[in-house]
Amino acid sequence: MTLYDWLLFLHVLAAFALGAAIVVYDFVIVSSRRWSLPAEVVRGFRIARVGDVLVRVGAVGTLVFGVWLALKEDVYGFGDAWIIIALVLWFAIGALGARSDKIYAPVKARARELEAAGRDEPSPELVAMLRSPAAVGVNAVISVLLLLLLLDMIFKPGS
C-alpha cells in the first residue's frame, strides 16, 4: 500500500467513525421518546458513550488525514470548492456537537441525581428536557450537515 492508500483508508475509516457516532446519538435520541424514568435515561446515555469515543476519533481523524491528503496530492487543493465546503461543514458539525453536549449534560446529571436519591419514578422534568426543541433540533441539524458532508465528499462539486 502506498502512503496515499493509507491516508485515504484512515480518512475514510475516521469518516465512518464520525458517521457512526452521529447514528448512535440519533438512535439514543429517538429511543429517548419512550423514556420517563431516571434509570431509563441513565441507562440510555450509557449506550451513547461509544458515540463519545467514535466522535472524537472521527472528528480528529477526518480533519488530520483529509488535510494531509489535500497537501500530498497535487490534484486536490485548499482552493477547491468541495474542500472548502467540507471544512465549513466539519467546523459547523463540531460547533453544534459542542452545543449538543451542553444541552444533554444537565439531562444526564439530573437523571443520575434522581436515581441516586432513589426517586426512580416518571419525571416530567426529565421528559421536558429530553424533548425540548433545542435538544432534538440541534441533533437533527447535525445529521443533515453530515449528510451534506457525505454528498460533498462523493460528488466533489467544482472538481
Binding site: 483508508f9 475514510v12 465512518f16 458517521g19 452521529i22 448512535v24 431509563e40 449506550i47 458513550r49
Partner: protein, 154 residues
C-alpha cells in the same frame, strides 16, 4: 486516485452505498454497545431493557441499512460496468457484504429470542451473548471492507 473523481451518474449509487454502510456501522455500534452493557449488568431489569434496545437497533437500523448498502453497491457496480470484472476488492466486498448479511439475520433472530426469554423467565442470556459475538464479527468484517474499498487491492 483519479477513480475518486467519478462521473455524476455514478455518484448517486455510490452515495447510497456509503450512506447505507455508515448507517450500518452506526447501528451496529449502538447494538453492540447495548449488548455489551447488557452482558455486564447484574440487575435483571437493566439487562432486559438493554437486550431489547440492542434488538431494536439491529432490526430497525442495521437491517434496513444493510439493504441500502447492498442495493447501492449493486447499482454502483452496474453503472461502472464492474459487475463481471475480476477484481479482488470487489470480491472482498461481495464476500463481506453477503456474509455479514447472513450473520446479521442470525444475530437479529438470536437477539430477539434472547430478549424475549430474558423478559419472560430470565433465560436467553446465552442467545443474547451469541448475538453480541456475531455483531462483533460483522464490525470486524466491515472494517476489512472499508480497507478493501479504499485501498482497492488487485
Amino acid at each position: 486516485m483519479l477513480a475518486a473523481i467519478r462521473p455524476d451518474s455514478w455518484n448517486v449509487p455510490v452515495f447510497l452505498h456509503v450512506l447505507g454502510a455508515m448507517l450500518l456501522v452506526g447501528g451496529l455500534a449502538a447494538a453492540f454497545s447495548a449488548q455489551v452493557l447488557a452482558w455486564r449488568r447484574s440487575d435483571s431489569g437493566d439487562t432486559v431493557a438493554l437486550a431489547r434496545t440492542a434488538f431494536r437497533a439491529l432490526l430497525f437500523v442495521v437491517l434496513p441499512a444493510w439493504f441500502l448498502m447492498r442495493v447501492g453497491a449493486e447499482r454502483a457496480l452496474a453503472r461502472e460496468s464492474l459487475g463481471s470484472a475480476d477484481l479482488t476488492w470487489v470480491d472482498i466486498g461481495y464476500i463481506t457484504a453477503d456474509g455479514s448479511g447472513i450473520l446479521l439475520l442470525v444475530a437479529i433472530v438470536l437477539a430477539g429470542i434472547g430478549a424475549r426469554r430474558l423478559a419472560r423467565d430470565g433465560g436467553g442470556a446465552r442467545l443474547a451473548q451469541a448475538a453480541t459475538v456475531l455483531s462483533a464479527i460483522v464490525i470486524v468484517a466491515l472494517l476489512l471492507t472499508v480497507w478493501a474499498m479504499t485501498a482497492k487491492p488487485t
